[in-house]
Every structure is written in structure tokens, then in C-alpha cells.
Amino acid sequence: MQIHPIIVALRRHKAGTLLIALQIALTLAIVCNALFIIHQRLSHLSEPSGIDEANLFVVTNLWGEQYSTDEAAAKIQQDLAALRQLPGVDNVTPADSYPLRGGGWDNFITLKPEQVSMTTDASVYTGDEHFLRTLGVKLIAGRDFHADEVQNMGLRQNFVPPVTIISKALADKLYPNGDALGKPFYSMSDKPTTIIGIVERLHRADVSTWSAPYANESLIWPIRMAQPWGVFYIVHTKPGQLDEAMREAPKALYAENRMRMISSKDGVRSFAQIRHLAFESDRGMAVLMSIICVVLLAITGAGIVGLTSFWVGQRRRQIGVRRALGATHRDILHYFLTENFLISLAGVAIGVLLTFGLNLWLVERFEMQFLPLAYVLGGMVILLLLGQGAVFAPALRASRVPPVEATRPA
């Protein structure tokens, strides 16, 4: 197949050629960036939390009366006992936050007490001796809390427990040599806290982009929060009994003490629901970008079909002449396929520049990451294939033009 005559012929269709190339270029730029956004958002969606999500749910319990710290602590113990009575319940822990909740408590961490700028930032969880077992977090070094280490903390009380269990991500950030166990750090206090345990993974409570540099950096303090407003109960159920336990838990709590509020709308949430809520905007973005990609590719494909069909109609006589002079069906088919390939190649070449331009702009304005080359290569292949696929039907029609067309007026 000779390329030269195709290029000469294209010179007579400058505008059409340019428009197809431009459309392919713009489509490439948008599709590549959209695919990258989709991938990023989806990987966010499936971020592991380190906890046994399938068998966990959370009860948001608001007190109906204002309790002092001691009263609240006592009420919590009664509630825990009531929840443990339920047949489907395996373990319960009171908490003031949980992974993927959004927002929450986080502290600056330093390695020295006099240090003014932070070493890193950790999501803070408070938990009793049941916290790790209830959440199903895997302890990889050290030990769990002893019951006598757990202190009650009321409203605006301010103390730093002497011991803590931290996530591996935080341990590695603080002590990169892997010897964090038994070492101290400071957390917005001049008193140190000593690492007595390290867990494999514990997602932060916060899910916003702000937290991205501190991914999975969390610490647990042996504290039982006894706040006047209320408490979260994190409940671990026996396999297969989640739904049943979620129905029974509020009933059991109300039966135990009526002066509380557990919202019928969102007072009891499974971790599947919590995860769904946490990444709602990520999922939405991925869906929107997918729709844009699919429709955009469809429109570009349809545009190529339309324009090529027009060209075929316009050149029936020339095709007839070529056929009369000995060109086979296959020659004609290849002519149009090659023609489209050349145009697409030009479009893709311009498109690569546009793609990186758009990405650079997104990086600057929206703190996106740089586009990996694989996406651009993938996008190029998709568009070249799309072009060939779109041009195939008109090209096939062209190849069926009989030689006798040469004798007919245009």
C-alpha cells in the first residue's frame, strides 16, 4: 500500500482531515485524564481499612440526659453488658471515632518534646482492652492493652496515656529502621507515650485528600471516652448474624435505658454503609468520568463514520475508476483504513501534547497526580482502534463500488 497517493488525496480534504484529527486529539486528552481520574478514585474506594468490615457495625448513641464523666462511664459499662448479651454479638467496644468515619481526632506527632514542627500526623482512636479484638485488627508486634491500663476520659480532660498501640505505617514513619516497639514519641504534650504494640494496618478516620500524606497513620490510646453527648459502640458479630444483630442492638439498648437517642435513620450503620458513605464522592466522580468517556468515544466514532461515509459517497466515481484499472476490493478497503490510520496518527500525536497539557493544568489547580505514560499509550491504542473500527463499515461499502461507476456521471 502506497502512502503517498493517500496523502496527496487528503490535501484536497484539508478541512475534513483537520477536523477528524482535532476531534481525535481532544478525545484522547479528555479520555486519558478521565481514565486516570477513574482509576485513582476506584483505588481509593477499595482502600483496605485493616478491620474486619464484613462483621462490624457501629451504633451512634446519644444520651438523653447530661451525664458527668463518672455517670457516663457507668452507663457505657451497662450498655456494653447489654450488647454482649445479644446472641449474634461476639464483642463490643466503646469508641469516640472509627476508621472511614470522616474527620475525627488527629494529633501532631513529634519525636522530641521541644520540637516545634511536627514529624507526622496521626489519626487518634481511643479504645479499651477489647478494641483490637472487636475490630479484628491484626497485632504484628508487642501486646494488646491490659484492662487496668484503660482510663476514663471526660469532656475536655487532657492527658496523654503512657502507652499506645500504633499502626505499622506510623511506626515506619517515626522509626524507619523497624525498631519502633518500646520507643517513645510525643503527641502535643511534653509527656512521652511509649509504643507497646504495632498493628498491621488501621485506616485513618479521615478520608479527605488532606489525609493522603499520612495514609494509614493511626494510634490507639487506652482511653474509654465518657463524653456527655454520647458514644459510638463498635460491635463485632458472629459470622452471618450482622443483620440480625443490627436490628436487635438498638432494642436491647432502649430496653436497658430509655434516656438515649439512636437515630432510626443513621443510628446503626454496618461498615459496608460506612464505606459507601465515606467514598461517595469518589464513586460519583468515577461514574461521571466513565459516562463522559463512553459517550465521548461513541460520538467521536460516529463522527468518523459520518465523515468517511460522506467521503466514500463523494469519491464513488474515483473508486470506480481505480476498480476499472485493476484495484481489488481489498485495495480499496485498505486505502480507507490506511487513510484513517494516518489521520488518527496525526490526531493522536497532537492529542498527546493536549493530554499532558490538560494533566499539567489539573495537577496545578487540583493537586492531581502526574499521568502515568501507560494511560497515554492505552488511550492512543483505544483511539486508533476506534478509528479503524469506525471506518470499517464505510470502507467496506467503498470496496463494493462496482467498476462501472467510472462510466457514470458523479
Partner: protein, 438 residues
């Protein structure tokens, strides 16, 4: 003549239904995607209080010093209790209020109904005139009630419905947590979005607050903030509620009303002087650093428009651009295919201008049809946007006459813009060539 052109256009569009459908669909889909994302963008970036936005300002004070802004952080967007109270005492603005979000259990007087959670704000008397809060019964409290820590409350229309069946409840009592409050006013349905005065705590698109009560009263009863509390490195603060109040933790929103630029400048100078004074007094060990932003600047600063919304709008516009390039190509093909016909019309005396008008009329028909398809798709898009964006934000976007009009206009302008080159080419057809080749 126009009606003749339109008739010709219709005939031509009918002759090639697939190409026509493709053009109309491309325009419709392109316009609809842009309009849907624009509807969301407009909903979240709208000015919540246009009549006052230039006179309302939020101050910031550098309370933690330059080292707190390593890692690209900015000045805290709330004040500490200490600073907020100092600013309230100095009373340098026309109106001013400290604000923080609080939550209570409302306990109905009727013992058979269960308590329920309510959320609202603790604020000063100026809050209501500053933000033009509309009342259906009564009004806000006054400055002397602020001083006296009066146990009064302004409740929302909705809470009034819930507690008093919508009757005039001024003077009645409301039981919130362990305290009784006398209703002093009932607001009309009031929920500016975004809720500019709470952007430091929330995304600004949540349900309307249930009540407002005096700031001093809320602090006096040791009411916890339901918003953010940020204690950069405030190590060694005293325990308890008072220790927290005296600490350098920031959690108080602060707004001032200043009538003109001169007043804003004067207030900015005052803030500078205040921070400098703190430096001299040994509280801040760094030079005074303050900002004063008006409402719209504050919304930008707080990134009210989520990046998702901006990126979506941007890519939708790109999408529209591709659709238009597509339309240019298809129109060019369609028009040039009729070169022969154009040649005949030109030979019979039609001017270039008339040819141009004829094809533009045809393009306008595509544009209007594209717009109508676009309106349908926009409707579907706005309806479906709740599946994509966070419900709080998505439900703000709705199909209005404005949106429908904008969609049609946008489709028409875009199509005529796209038709510019193809119609120009059509009008340049050389009659002699066309007649000869036949």
C-alpha cells in the same frame, strides 16, 4: 425568505436522517453534560447573601506562629476563645458576632414524645441583623441579654412546627439538655447556602439549623462545640472546660459587618494593632499577621466549590468542544455534498450572502433541535446527579426556567458557531465549476 430557507433546511435535514440525528444528538449530549455540571457548580458557588456579601468580613489571626504553617498550611480559619472575646470587647466593627455550632437534645414537654437531637449555633445579638435573618414571630435578643447570659432561644420554623405545631411560641419554654430556654423569636425558613458562617466546620450544605442561643449562655453552661476544635501543639494546657477556654485551641467563628472600604481598612489596622499588642505582651513571639476577607473571598478561601465539581465542569466543557468539532465536520460534509445545488442557485442569481443565510437557517434548526434534546438530557442529568455527587450538594441543583433557557441558548449559539466555517465554505462554492462537472 427566512421561511423559505427554513423549508429548504428541513427538506435537506430529512434527506439524510442519520447524519441529522447524529448532529442533533451530539449537540444535545454536549450541551446537556455542560449544563448539568454547570447547574451543580452554580448551586455550590452561588452567593448566599448577595445584598450583604460585600460588607461581611471574617478575620484571621496568626495565633500559632510561622512554624505552624510549614507543610503548606495556612492561618487557622477560626479564632481562639481568648481572641474572639477580646475582639468582642473592643467592639470596633459596626456589628460583630462570635459563633460556634452546638447540639442538644430537645425534650418535648409532652412526656409521651421521645427526646430528639437538635443542632444550632451559639451567637451574639448582632448575628440576626448582620445576616438579615427573617422572623415570623418575635425577633433576636439584644446586647444586654448577651451580657446577662439570658436563657433565651431563637428557634427555626421547623422546630417550632415540631414543638408547638407552628403556633406563635414566643414566651414559651423549650427544654434543651438540662436547661430551660424562653423562646424569643421564630425564624422563617432561613438556610443560606453555602452556610458561609460555618464553612470552617462544615461543607456548608447541610440542613437548616434548629435554633440559636446567646454565646455567653452556651459557654456559661459549658456547652461543647459540635464543630472543629484545632489545638496546634498547645501542649500543657490546663484540663477541664476552663482550661480549654484559656488555651490556644481555635474553634470560634467570627464575623464582622463593615459598611465600606474605609471601615474595612480601619478594621484591618485594628486587627494588626491587636496582634502587635499580643506580640508586645509576650503572647505571640512573631510579627503581627492577620487577614480580613469578605464573604465571597472567604468562600474561595474555604474552597466551597469541591474540586470534583470544578473538574466535572471542566471536562464537560471539553466534552462539548469535541461535540462541536464533530458537528463542524458533519455539517461540512453535509453542506459540501450539495455543492451542485449551490452552484445552480448561485447561477440563477442567489448572492453569496443568501446562500450563507440559507445554510445558517439550516444550522439554526439543528441548533434548536439539539437544544430541545439537550433540555431533555439536562433534565435526566439533574435528576440523576444525586447518584453521582453528594446528596447535600446534588439536591441543590434543579431544573429551572433559567436552566432551560440557558440550555437552548447555549445549544443555538454553539451550533451557529460551529456552522460558521461550513456555511462560509458553502457560500464560496464556485458556480461555474459545479455546473461544468455535471
Amino acid at each position: 425568505m427566512i421561511s423559505y430557507y427554513l423549508k429548504l433546511g428541513l427538506r435537506s435535514l430529512r434527506r439524510n436522517p442519520i447524519l441529522t440525528t447524529l448532529m442533533v444528538l451530539a449537540i444535545g449530549v454536549g450541551v446537556a453534560s455542560s449544563m448539568t455540571t454547570y447547574a451543580v457548580f452554580r448551586a455550590v458557588s452561588g452567593n448566599p447573601l448577595p445584598e450583604k456579601s460585600a460588607q461581611l468580613f471574617a478575620p484571621q489571626i496568626d495565633i500559632w506562629g510561622p512554624q505552624s504553617r510549614a507543610q503548606g498550611r495556612e492561618l487557622p480559619d477560626s479564632l481562639s476563645y481568648t481572641d474572639a472575646m477580646a475582639l468582642m470587647r473592643d467592639h470596633k466593627a459596626k456589628r460583630q458576632t462570635a459563633i460556634y455550632p452546638v447540639g442538644f437534645n430537645a425534650i418535648p414537654s409532652d412526656v409521651s414524645s421521645e427526646p430528639f437531637a437538635v443542632r444550632g449555633y451559639a451567637a451574639y445579638a448582632d448575628f440576626f441583623p448582620m445576616f438579615n435573618v427573617p422572623f415570623i414571630y418575635g425577633g433576636g435578643w439584644n446586647a444586654s441579654q448577651d451580657e446577662a447570659r439570658a436563657a433565651v432561644v431563637v428557634i427555626s420554623d421547623q422546630l417550632n412546627q415540631q414543638l408547638f405545631g407552628g403556633a406563635n411560641s414566643v414566651g414559651r419554654m423549650v427544654h434543651l439538655d438540662n436547661h430551660d430556654y424562653q423562646v424569643i423569636g421564630v425564624t422563617a425558613d432561613w438556610n443560606p447556602r453555602p452556610r458561609f458562617y460555618d464553612l470552617n466546620n462544615s461543607s456548608g450544605f447541610t440542613d437548616a439549623p434548629d435554633f440559636f442561643l446567646p454565646f455567653n449562655q452556651a459557654v456559661g453552661t459549658q456547652t461543647e462545640t459540635m464543630g472543629d476544635n484545632n489545638c496546634y501543639g498547645s501542649a500543657g494546657r490546663n484540663p477541664g472546660f476552663d482550661g480549654w477556654l484559656q488555651s490556644d485551641c481555635v474553634w470560634v467563628s467570627y464575623w464582622v459587618e463593615l459598611s465600606d472600604a474605609a471601615a474595612a481598612q480601619a478594621y484591618n489596622n485594628y486587627l494588626q494593632a491587636y496582634a502587635a499588642e499580643q506580640n508586645r505582651a509576650g503572647r505571640f513571639h512573631w510579627p503581627a499577621n492577620v487577614t480580613l476577607r469578605n464573604l465571597t473571598q472567604w468562600m474561595d478561601y474555604e474552597h466551597v466549590v469541591p474540586p470534583e465539581t470544578r473538574i466535572s465542569l471542566l471536562l464537560s466543557l471539553g466534552f462539548l468542544l469535541v461535540c462541536l468539532v464533530n458537528t463542524i465536520g458533519l455539517m461540512l460534509a453535509k453542506f459540501m455534498r450539495r455543492a451542485g445545488e449551490i452552484g445552480v442557485r448561485r447561477a440563477l442569481g442567489a448572492s453569496r450572502r443568501e446562500i450563507w443565510a440559507q445554510f445558517l437557517a439550516e444550522a439554526a434548526m439543528v441548533g434548536v433541535s439539539g437544544g430541545l434534546v439537550g433540555v431533555v438530557f439536562t433534565g435526566i442529568g439533574v435528576y440523576g446527579i444525586g447518584l453521582i455527587f453528594e446528596p447535600d450538594i446534588a439536591r441543590l441543583a434543579h431544573v429551572s426556567a433559567y436552566l432551560v433557557g440557558l440550555t437552548l441558548l447555549c445549544a443555538l449559539i454553539a451550533t451557529l458557531g460551529a456552522a460558521f466555517y461550513p456555511t462560509w465554505r458553502a457560500s464560496r462554492v464556485q458556480p461555474a465549476w459545479q455546473l461544468k462537472s455535471n
